[in-house]
Amino acid sequence: MRYDAVIVGGGLAGLTAGISLQKAGKKTAIVSTGQNALYFFSGCFESIQEPTPEILSLFSEAGVRVHYTPGVRLMPMGTFKESALALDDVSLFPAPDFGKKVLIINFMAYHDFFSSFLAQGLEKQGMECRIRFLNLGDLAQPELGPNQMRAVQIARKLDDVWEKVVQEVRVLLKDEDTVVLPQVFGLNDASIPERIRQGIPARVVFAGTLPPSVPGIRTQNLLKKRYEVLGGTYLLGDRVTGAHVYEDVVQNVVTKQLDRHYLEADHFILASGSFFSKGLSSNPFKIYEPLFELDMDYDTDRNTWYDPTFANHQPYLGFGVKTDAEFHPSRHGVPVKNLYVIGSILGETHPELGSGAGLAIRSALQVTQLITGKP
């Protein structure tokens, strides 16, 4: 099978590249091992201060509901963080003191949503808070066991009975102007959070839970679906195990499941993520890119990899694959012509592209332009 482009890694970067290449009429395949950073997504796209029309249509065409409202968002532990582009689940406010009286809804025996920390944070902003617990077992049978009270399992239940939650909240609501709910709604239906908002006669704020992230998984599923609707081939659960590079050109890559079959393409895109996703590996002596052994941009002295203070910026997060202005990496000093590197595997080597989701999307779009030759 020969493609215009084969993409290693199906996280936000790989999917963005795949979708935009398919839209430009290219034939592509994505090989992805499994979980990616979107499973832990906060719902906010870091470092996108002003989304281009291209970024906005990437989401709207996939059915991912985003809004651009520079301001602050309420964090799960009751603090606030500046954000600009977020999923519709996440409310962005001009300032932290967004309400006067708040009703916080939690579920009984759910330990991954921190209603008391939230209340404390909001009380600091001068808000009055009331916490009420719903019993999920009353809303949906069979009841979840004590160790099944996790975000995704709860969300699966709630996809069917979210309207009962709306009714319960309406009964509980007194004179509060705001209701805070955990982010466990709309796993398979992106319209549910909005419909909950319409059903409750107060401002509704969804606050994050411990991972996995329900809005993140939904986003991943929608982007993947969009990619496949455009004709892309998504090889889920497969892993690229090797590559043949001849002189300065990647000939093909080998995957675990396709066995001796090679994936051949004109262009290859490496979007395998950072340490967490195993796009980067490390041992006591070095940090390296395991698939192609690409040249890295980092300090080899292990003593410089960390800051002993957890809260400080950690130098290792900045390490990444070294590329030129056109995202081509090199091996043993020789640039690889038809290989491009995008997403968090770049570390902080392209500070102008931002970090997190901003870096993943921007680098993917730029590489698409380079491959399609279109501005």
């Binding site: 906010c44 009751g78 330990h111 340490f275 957890f310």
Partner: protein, 394 residues
């Protein structure tokens, strides 16, 4: 060559001793620092304390004060104007994520670096190094990358598999060795138990110091100290700690204990029995919700956490970690820190403090992680950075 070596769970040992003291009518004050020794003339009358949780200062009076402050015994003695010369010896060790051995393995040589591999609970530990450090550094000891390299290379000689076993944590502590009285230079160190009657030694009544020794000899140290106290108080009774088992250890192995209580014990119940012995029957389990796992790696349930809060004086995440192993597994406190903090906040009604406690806990965990920050540890570390800073907002 076979030697009768054993290993002990030091966390359970401390908790069981504390509980034993309480069962005999003693009081335990955790998070309470001795800030002064009250001395009138040549007699010690009591101590001044500072409670780190409440910020309250309080004085306690007693005919005898026992200084069992480990390496900090020097500072404590100084508060009474007495000189005890400690010889702080830092030791670093590595904790591996699973057991490669079921019995203690020793190098057959004179004590040296990394010559013992000890299995414990779900992990195994290789240690140790030894280097003298100034007393001021005892409060904040850190493992250096050089020590890590040394422990791995030497450890591999004990068990080659260590080279490919994940390291969970690097850890350092300070041995309370004592310089012999007649040798203030500290060259002539006593490795034995040191029990000082300051009335005889320094002419100060009402104070004794027990230090030196080893964990292995802790009970004997305590016996020597209590015998001396009894002599001073005119009590004539034989010490019984050598014949009475500690609370929780009265009955057989943890498997037997678990089977006695539950027909088909779950993994969580079995590991809880290993942590607590027969005391495990007292874990609160009023309904199924108490079975909810707070810490997946170490299988710690909500019931066990709440029991530790109620009965074992756990007032911080660090206390909880020592009592239940919460946060000590492969993820090093990823999610359980927040969950457990939520339970502590609920029990104590102090949310503000728990927030700060999470920060402290994460920093403590990182302290033992960055010296071994590569491979899966670095993956977890990156994940923790994102989750706590960008997703949870700490």
């Amino acid at each position: 060559m076979r030697v009768p070596d054993c290993s002990v769970d030091p966390f359970r040992l401390c908790a069981a001793n504390m509980l034993d003291a309480k069962l005999h009518g003693g009081q335990v004050r955790l998070q309470t620092e001795v800030t002064g020794i009250l001395r009138e003339g040549n007699t010690v009358k009591g101590i001044r304390t500072h409670n780190r949780n409440t910020g309250a200062d309080q004085e306690f009076y007693a005919p005898i004060v026992v200084n069992a402050g480990g390496v900090w015994g020097q500072e404590l003695a100084q508060m009474a104007g007495i000189k005890v010369g400690m010889f702080p010896a830092k030791g670093s060790l590595l904790i591996f994520a699973h057991r490669v051995n079921n019995m203690v393995i020793n190098r057959c040589r004179k004590p040296s670096n990394a010559d013992i591999l000890v299995p414990g609970d779900t992990v195994c530990i290789v240690g140790t190094t030894s280097s003298r450090i100034p007393l001021e550094e005892c409060r904040n000891v850190a493992v250096t990358p050089d020590e890590v390299t040394l422990l791995i290379t030497e450890g591999m000689k004990l068990a080659p598999r260590l080279a490919s076993t994940r390291i969970l944590r690097a850890y350092a502590g300070v041995r309370p060795l004592v310089s012999a009285d007649d040798d203030p230079s500290g060259r002539n160190i006593s490795r034995g138990i040191v029990c000082l009657d300051h009335e005889v030694r320094d002419g100060v009544k009402g104070l004794i110091t027990i230090t030196g020794g080893k964990l292995t000899s802790y009970r004997l140290m305590a016996e020597m100290a209590t015998d001396l106290v009894c002599k001073k108080l005119g009590v004539d009774k034989a010490c019984e700690t050598a014949i009475h088992p500690l609370p929780g250890s009265e009955e057989g192995s943890y498997e037997e204990v678990a089977k006695k209580i539950w027909e088909n014990p779950t993994t969580a119940q079995k590991v809880a029995a290993a942590r607590m012995g027969s005391r495990v029957s007292r874990i609160r389990s009023t309904d199924r919700r108490d079975e909810a796992l707070i810490c997946e790696c170490e299988q710690v349930t909500m019931g066990e956490i709440n029991s530790a809060i109620d009965r074992l004086e756990a007032s911080t995440l660090t206390d909880l970690r020592r009592r239940t192993r919460v946060g000590m597994g492969t993820c090093q406190g990823e999610f359980c820190a927040c969950r457990a903090a939520g339970l502590l906040a609920k029990a104590h009604g102090c949310i503000e403090k728990e927030r700060a406690d999470i920060d402290y806990f994460l920093q403590e965990r990182w302290k033992g992680n960055f010296p071994i920050g590569w491979g899966d540890t670095l993956r977890e570390a990156e994940y923790t950075q994102w989750v706590y800073k960008h997703v949870l907002g700490i």
